[in-house]
Each structure stands twice: as C-alpha cells, then as structure tokens.
C-alpha cells in the first residue's frame, strides 16, 4: 500500500519535473494566447452577439474567451508553468550546488581517458616542477590550480565560470519573481482614472473596471491644463497639467505632468492620458452704450441673461472657436425692455470695433474667453512594479550568463614513472563545446611548447 503510494507520488513528482511538460506548456501558452488577439476582449455582450451570433457568444462565455487572459484555464496554465518551473529547479539544483561544494579535485580514470579534450606527455622533470609550470600556464584560463595527492599521484584541478551554471536558475527564479510582482500588483494595487476640471480638485478616483470610487487619502488639484501644438499643424505636441497634491489643505507636492512624465505620491501615480472640454466657456464682454459712450466690462456664461441699463438684457446664444476663418465668435441676442427678443447677431473677437456699425442701442466686443478643460488622468497604484523590474533585470542577466558563459574545468594527473613524469590532461566545458575545443587546441600548442620542448608523446 505504502509502496504504491510513494510510486504514485513519484509519478506526480516526475510529471511536474518533466521538461517535456515545460515545452508543451510553453507551446500551449503560445497557441492559446492567440485567441485573445483575434477575439476582442472585454467588449460589451451586444458586440459579440452581433458579430458571432447568440450561440457562439454563449460558447465564448462558457469557455471564458471574453476575458481569456484572466480565465481559470489560462491562469491555471500559468500556475502549472510555475509549478513545473519550481519542481524542475528543486530537482536539479542540488546537482549544480554540488559543483560548488564538492568540486571534483581528483580526475577519475574515465575523465582522463574519455574526455573530448585531452593531452598526454612524458617529461623528464619531477612532478612538483611541472605542477608549478602548469599552474602559471593555466592560471589565465582556469584560475588557481588545486593540488591533491592520492596514491602517490599528484592531481591538479582548475575551473572558471562556475557561476554560469546558475544562469538558468537565476532566469527561472526571475520568472517567478515577475509573476509574484504581477500578483502583488493585482491584489494590492488598482488601475483607475479621473477627470479633473481646471481649478478644481478631487480626492477620489474611479476604478477602470467597475467604475467604483476609490479614496486617494489625499487631494489632487489641477491648476491648469494646456495643449501645445506643433507649429502650423493640428498635431498635438504635448499635453500638460499642473498638478498639486494637498494633504489636510496643505500643499505638499507640485508638478507639471505630461505624457511620459507622470507624478507619483505615496505610491500612487498620475499619468496624463486625455483631455476634453468641461462645458460652458466663460466670456469677458465689453458693452458700450452708444448714446452715452459708457463702457461696461461684463462677465458672462453662455445662455446666461445679463442685465443692461434701461431694462435691456442680453445673452450669448452660441459660441464657436472658429467662425469662417475669422476666429472665435459669439452669437448674441438682445431683449428689449418690453420683453421682445431681438434677432441674433455675431461678434468676432478679432474685430472689436465692428459691432458699432450695427447701430443698435449697445455695441459689443468680445475681449476674451476661457474654455475650461478637464485633464484626463490615469491613476495607478502598483506596489508590485519594482518587484517586476527586479525580475526583469535578473531575467536578462541570468539568461545572458546561461547562454554566453560556460563552466570550464581542467584536470591534470602527474604520475612518476622512473625518472620521467607522465602528464595526463583533460578538460571540458558545459556549454559551447566546439568553441572550447578550438581554445583547447590553442592551449595544447602552448603546452607542447612549455612542458615538452620536444614533441609530445601522444596526441589527445
């Protein structure tokens, strides 16, 4: 019973450690990810029904294709991916750690005989002398050699680049770190947005999915919003908002943000994302009473009745930024004291003297107007983002280490045979064997020259 149990758990363990599984999951993730790029995600139900029909839509809902990157099966696949990664690492790491803890200082006969890269010499010198000379020669490529004496034979061992064995583990760890960062961000952070009208402030933002209000815990005021355009073009060059952070009515931070340059306060970041008109413009109108020449500067909003002397009044019935190439213009109507509404007429900002020609009781000029705008801010709180960047850094660093460096080892066995010393050398690298073979051939030429001023006994 218990034996069956262990073999069953062994099977599960082997399944999760399997690299076949890794490759299958990677390809499955690649293939399934395509769905969400073809089928629009998180659109309103009506759109799917219109395009694919009710039956297909029901199927999509059942399969969670509408929001597939958050579906149980996709998350499940990512979970399996992580479990696979963890199990593989747990299984293989001890083997790698052994290279560090217990380097193989003494070459086995197998290594000396079967290595792809080896050399053998017979030299009229004693072992200690050869060891010293080899130490000098090999230091550059294999570090300081370690001497071990066993059964009257002197063994030398040197290695370099052992850290490259950890590259793969660092890469794998980095993937888990990125995922952890993403999960932390999802649980403890939020994505929201808020529109702030110039001159107003807010202490609440709206969640991007679900539109629930979120309290910031402080207040943000927008003092001013600007769009600048490229010269002679309607292409926006920059949007800027002057934001002020207030705590208990005290100003604590002030920054002019723009696209690609956000403001961060207490882990919450405000990104410039959009803008728009916030309703009624505000006008400065100069009214001249033609009979007396009396001049009045009045403030007005659109559709607001403004009183004039003698029982008259006027209102701005319309406004445009650009009236037939003449620039901003407002449309006015005057009410006479007997309550009759006059015909609408236009007043252009560009021609302040023009309205006198109309010859009414009053003449009007548009001095200035201000169109309040709102700034559209994306708001994000993501306590996981630093962890994600740490993971990304490790991923690049780890995979470069794993790909481009290798663990190189060399073993030497010095054996006294009469008045000669037999020298056996073997070396290997855990990656890029062809390149290492070439380097070893170079080394062998140097060995030929240094160890044996004569020719080597036997080529490896």
């Amino acid at each position: 019973m218990s034996e069956k149990n262990t073999s069953f758990t062994d099977q599960i363990w082997d399944f999760f450690c399997s690299l076949k599984l890794t490759i299958i999951i990677m390809l499955l993730l690649a293939i399934t990810s395509i769905i969400g790029t073809v089928l629009q995600q998180n659109a309103p139900a009506a759109e799917y029904i219109q395009e694919y029909g009710q039956a297909n839509y029901d199927l999509f809902v059942k399969l969670q294709f509408i929001d597939m990157y958050h579906s149980w099966w996709f998350i499940g696949l990512l979970g399996l991916f992580s479990v696979n990664l963890i199990c593989c690492s747990i299984k293989n790491f001890p083997r790698v750690w052994k290279f560090v803890k217990e380097p193989q200082l003494v070459a086995s006969p197998g290594i000396l005989k079967n290595s792809a890269n080896r050399a053998e010499y017979s030299v009229k010198e004693d072992a200690a002398q050869i060891s010293r000379r080899l130490g000098d020669l090999l230091k550059k490529d294999f570090g300081k050699l370690t001497e071990t004496e066993v059964d009257g034979k002197l063994y030398l061992f040197g290695q370099k680049g052992i850290y490259s064995r950890f590259g793969a583990y660092m890469t794998h760890l980095s993937i888990l770190i990125v995922m952890a960062g993403a999960i932390i961000g999802n649980i403890f952070g939020y994505k929201a947005y808020v529109n702030v009208v110039e001159g107003t402030s807010t202490s609440q933002v709206w969640s991007r999915n679900g539109q629930v209000p979120i309290d910031l815990g402080f207040t943000v005021r927008c003092d001013n919003f600007d769009v600048s355009y490229y010269p002679n073009s309607r292409r926006p060059k920059d949007y800027n908002s002057d934001l002020v952070v207030l705590e208990n009515g005290q100003e604590v931070l002030r920054k002019r943000i723009e696209v690609n340059d956000p403001l961060t306060y207490k882990g919450i970041t405000f990104y410039q994302s959009s803008y728009g008109s916030a309703g009624n413009p505000f006008f400065k109108v100069r009214v001249t009473e033609n009979a007396t020449g009396k001049v009045m500067d009045l403030n007005a909003r659109q559709r607001e009745q403004i009183k004039l002397p003698g029982g008259y009044s006027f209102l701005i019935s319309n406004f445009t930024q650009n009236d037939r190439q003449f620039g901003p213009a407002m449309q006015l109507q005057i009410n006479t004291p007997d309550g009759k509404r006059g015909r609408p007429f236009a007043v252009w900002k560009k021609f302040p003297e023009f309205d006198i020609k109309r010859g009414g009781t009053f003449s009007f000029a548009l001095i200035d107007y201000e169109e309040p705008q709102f700034t559209g801010l994306q708001v994000a709180k993501d306590p996981g983002v630093e962890i994600v960047w740490l993971g990304c850094f490790l991923m690049v660093f780890g995979s470069l280490t794993a790909f481009f460096f290798s663990h190189k080892r060399i073993w030497v066995c010095l054996e006294t045979e009469g008045n000669k010393t037999k020298v056996q050398i073997a070396a290997n690298a855990h990656r890029n064997q062809p390149g290492f073979s070439l380097a070893f051939d170079d080394l062998k030429q140097k060995l030929d020259a240094t160890i044996e001023n004569k020719s080597p006994v036997k080529e490896g």
Binding site: I34, K237, N260, L400
Partner: protein, 287 residues
C-alpha cells in the same frame, strides 16, 4: 544628397549583393562571393550613413523636436533591414559561408523595396505618447532580435533543403554536386541556427521589457494584453521552447529548423500582421 537618395543607393547595393550571391551559387566562383559580400558591406555603410542623415534631417525639419529615426513603420522597416545585414555580416566574419547570403539578403532587399515603394517616408512630428527614450531602446532591441531570427530562419530553410538530399547522398557531403555542395555542412547550419537564436532571444526579452517599461511610464500599466504585446509573448514562448528543447531534449536538426521557421513566421506576424490584421495600441504613428 538627402537620406532618401541614399536609401535608394542602399537598395541598389543590396540588390547587387543578392544577385551576386545567387550568381555565386550558380558559378561557384570565389570572386563572385567576394563581390556579393562587399556590396552587402558597402550597402551597410551607406545604410548607416542614411540612418544618421535622416536623424540629422529630422532636426532640420522639426527643429528641437528631431528624433532618432525609429518611430514609424517606414523607419522601423528600414532599421530592420539594417539589422539583418549587420547580423549577417557579423555572422559571416565568424563562419565565412557566403551561400547563406543568398538566403538572408532577400529578406533585407524585400524589406528595403517594400519600405521605398509602399510606406510613407515623411518625417512627421511625434504624438506625445511616442516622445520617450524608451521608444528608442525598445525599437533597437526588438529589431536586432527580429534580425537574428531572420538569419536563423534563412539558415533553417537551407538546412531543410539540404538535409534530405544529404541523407540520400552516398559519400562525402562536402562533395555533393550542384548548389547543395556550396551550402555549409548541415552540422554548421544547425549550429548557426542555434547561435542566431541565442542572440535573438535575449534581445527580444530586452525588447519586451523596454516596451513594458515604456508602457508603464506612459499609461501606468506595464502589461495590458494588447495584441502586439501578446504576440511578442507568443514569439518569446516559441523561442524559449526552442532553447529548452535543444538544451535538454536534444532537439537538433530538422525539428529545430522547423521550430525556427515557425518562430520567424510568428515574429513577422507580430511585427506586421498585428498592425495589418488585428487592431491595438501600436499603430506606428501616422503611417
């Protein structure tokens, strides 16, 4: 001379180079292959100059708003072809196998012709979202990666052409008759395929990370599963599978070559298909 003229000269140089590589396959003459490699090199030098000049011109046209020529579809294609030739010539320094040129230069030439013929080469000012240094890092790393994958794909195609015949051929493969005899040994092609992907994969990783960093700066989300991002992840998974299959399950030869070709097909879809077929955030400015 302006950069437009220079880009035309580049196209001509790549055309000469490709024709010469084909001629080399037909004529087996070493001097022809020298001409081919030399024109590719001259083309690359002109290309580099043209990119620099376009950068300079952007300052003349836009004043202080000038920028590196890496911002719209035209510029990205032209940078892509530059990267392909660069990676090819670097690999050629090491492997000295001119027949590969006949399978890599066409990618560069078609890209170059396509850009000259169909894409808008105007230097337009950038919308605010594109005004970021991350954009430059993002484009450079992505396209160096794509170029390495293009190289791997070209070699994989050669591999698949040769391997079947080689297995049937009795005798020394280096003495195979016809064009195939000029191809590098299959073992070498397999190695080049793998090495090109080893260069491309970390580049793509960096490309995805710089893209994520940029998105985080501009919008506050480093990953939003938009089609372009997702496709780059798909490509990444395919090459990650390639690497693991090779390291640990000994997938070499045919299977590795097919995976490399599939990977590059996905890369091309990620680059062009997503913009042409699917919709998303990356619309490459105004082109």
């Amino acid at each position: 001379m302006d950069s437009g003229t220079l880009f035309n000269l580049v196209t001509i140089a790549y055309f000469i180079s490709m024709v010469a590589f084909f001629a080399y396959l037909a004529a087996r003459s070493k001097s022809v292959s020298m001409v081919a490699t030399l024109s590719a090199f001259v083309g690359l030098v002109l290309h580099t100059t043209a990119l620099g000049m376009r950068w300079y011109e952007s300052y003349q046209i836009l004043g202080a708003d000038g920028r590196a020529p890496l911002t719209n579809l035209y510029e990205s294609v032209v940078f892509f072809t530059w990267s392909i030739v660069l990676i090819y010539l670097l690999m050629d320094l090491k492997y000295k196998q001119p027949s590969i040129g006949a399978f890599v230069m066409p990618f560069a030439l078609f890209g170059q012709i396509g850009a000259q013929m169909w894409l808008n080469a105007g230097i337009d000012p950038l919308v605010p979202a594109l005004q970021s240094n991350w954009l430059t890092y993002h484009v450079i790393t992505c396209f160096l990666g794509y170029a390495a994958f293009a190289m791997a794909c070209g070699v994989s195609i050669m591999y698949l052409i040769k391997i079947g015949k080689e297995e049937k051929f009795e005798g020394d493969p280096s003495e195979m008759p016809g064009v195939l005899g000029l191809f590098p040994p299959t073992r070498v092609m397999d190695d080049i395929n793998y090495r090109a992907i080893m260069i491309g994969f970390p580049m793509l990783t960096l490309g995805i990370i710089t893209g994520a960093a940029w998105a985080n700066y501009a919008w506050g989300t480093y990953w939003s599963w938009d089609p372009k991002e997702t496709w780059s992840l798909i490509v990444w998974f395919i090459y990650a599978a390639f690497i693991h299959a090779r390291f640990t399950r000994g997938w070499v030869g045919r299977r590795a070559a097919w995976l490399s070709i599939i990977g590059f097909a996905a890369t091309l879809f990620c680059y062009l298909g997503v913009n042409l077929v699917l919709s998303g955030l990356h619309s490459y400015g105004g082109s």
